[in-house]
Symmetry: C2
């Protein structure tokens, strides 16, 4: 969500509250219910989101009065001290800032964290959009020229995402750039840095006209925001490359459908993204060095079988194959055939098949 | 260590072995002993390093013959497939590559990992210098223009380290750049990304003419390599800013003196670097929100008291204060006084005091 829109929505929260007060009524705030009973999987849109149930925060309720004010303080802080001043802070920082700014202190960081999620739910956008940012490490490389919007020192500056062979950090500034010129045709999101580096060294970005993204494991939210933008704004197909194990499958699935924990901000999902593998069936097909699934892996597969995101025929068949073979394999396993085998023998073929 | 020198040393290993063979003798390789009995703290140099004890790997010994060949294979792979081809790989990758290239397989990755450390010891340089690289996430920002040496696609390209407000990734390429022009006067290494981001947003790099580094917790080896280079090649004073807890102290100490586990590559240490705090004594001085030390913290302090790196009067007194107060505090705790307090009230003053 664009900064102006977030500022508008934050202002609106205050205006609504003010209206109640002016009418001499206790203000209330209505927001979607964030409980498992209200998390649904939209099979058509292929995303996880919240249902129709709502909850109402009442300032008239003695037990809710404190968190009502705390919520308003966070909204105020996000607007005045962060967005309008072009500053950012972490969840931890926000907690410590409360020591100075309000009489009603948070006892534990846990309390302020929860209210940040509540604010996300009210606004319908991730906290990254109101500059409360996590420490995330993921990178991007490709033929895309961008223009920074933040911080003010860098606003208007342009940079091409091929200048940095170690990959450009995907932080607040990069996730909120304006796209200026893109000569890439596809996006490849990769689970790990070692393979990302290989792809940069072997010029996969040129060979396949691809923007490369290192998700650093489970893709952080800035990364998912950026992947979504590349797909939506530039119309680029997105491919996700992971290890052949339940965790790798889930990394791909979360990029495609979102996560249950972030069901209140479905805009992070990219339903058009495709999982390239490594599939369970590829382990035998390519005769890859493999490792037995451990108990944790098997338990994870059990959970996935009950998850509506995996009901799709292809995905559920891969879960079955994992359970049958009881083996997993990593992306690096292709190095059995030499350092570039993962590109020459696998990646290029898979992308062709997926198109 | 420069690439040419590493290639020379790798070649030398082969030549030495060849000499033995030509003389119809079983080859041997002599290397410093990497056991605790041979790890010493050089009080004058302020670094952890290996002592005078040596160990000899004999190809004539039946139990050693296999690892002798494996060690040679790794040296061969590092020279021919990595350095000379301008490629890099991870430890995991190296292990999988062995499946293809040699008859004598490693049973577990653990075995190849150990021999990589052995090769580091023989060469006297970190594996990063022979392109076996870890996944590390740390960043840099400042008025320094650099020229890339690797990969070949980027050789000769120049970039200023202020172009990227999210901080530039410190990977193989950035750690091995040539320094072209530096207008910064100091280096500030920071334990966490949230504060690094704050410093970029508040233009600390201008206010204090500083190169900023986010170590992302314990500084990864590429980061320590780069810090050392900034200090040695450019003569920049280095300051380390951490949380006020035993772990923060140790982050600073490892940058200054190196780690026991890397005693065989003392060139990563920067003895001239200074710890800026937050000191145990600052918690009360600045009336910072603090958290009780837990059992793990207290146990860590006990270990540090037996560590020669902490014998120095100031450092040992800080350990005593921690034990007395039984409290710790984070860098974000300064946000109690507002988002920029850590800069205005602490950083600027501390650097002046340290100069």
């Amino acid at each position: 969500m664009e900064k102006e829109k977030v500022v508008d929505r934050l202002t609106l929260i205050g205006k609504e509250v003010l209206k109640y007060v002016q009418n001499q009524e206790f203000p209330i705030i209505k927001l979607p219910l964030r409980s498992v009973t209200n998390v649904i999987y939209d099979n058509k849109q292929k995303i996880v989101k919240l249902g129709d149930k709502f909850v109402i925060r009442k300032s008239s309720n003695v037990r809710q009065a404190k968190i009502f004010s705390q919520l308003l303080w966070i909204a105020y802080f996000a607007k005045e001290n962060l967005l309008l001043k072009d500053r950012s802070c972490s969840l931890r920082d926000l907690y410590y800032n409360s020591f100075n700014d309000i009489k009603i202190k948070f006892e534990e960081q846990d309390e302020s964290d929860k209210l940040v999620v509540e604010l996300e739910t009210i606004l319908g956008c991730p906290r990254e959009n109101f500059n409360i940012i996590p420490e995330e490490k993921s990178s991007i490389f490709g033929d895309l020229t961008v223009e920074y919007m933040s911080p003010p020192t860098h606003r208007g500056q342009r940079v091409k995402l091929t200048t940095d062979p170690d990959g450009k950090n995907i932080g607040l500034s990069l996730a909120t750039v304006k796209f200026v010129e893109c000569n890439a045709k596809i996006v490849i999101a990769i689970e790990k840095g070692a393979i990302f580096r290989r792809f940069v060294e072997e010029q996969v970005y040129k060979k396949l006209n691809a923007i490369l993204i290192d998700t650093g494991g489970q893709a952080p939210r800035f990364t998912r925001m950026l992947i979504k933008r590349l797909n939506k704004e530039l119309g680029l197909p997105v491919y996700v490359l992971t290890d052949a194990d339940p965790w790798g499958m889930h990394i791909a699935r979360v990029i495609i459908s979102g996560s249950a924990i972030a069901a209140h901000i479905p805009e992070l999902a990219t339903p058009e993204a495709k999982w390239l593998g490594i599939y369970a069936t590829d382990i035998k097909k390519y005769n890859l060095p493999s490792i037995p699934l451990n108990e944790l892996d098997l338990h994870r597969l059990e959970t996935m079988k009950r998850d509506p995101r995996y009901e799709d025929r292809f995905w559920s068949s891969q879960i079955e194959f994992f359970e049958k073979y009881k083996q997993k394999a990593e992306l690096e396993a292709f190095s059995k055939y030499g350092l570039t085998a993962i590109i020459d023998r696998y990646l290029i073929k898979k992308i062709k098949e997926s198109q």
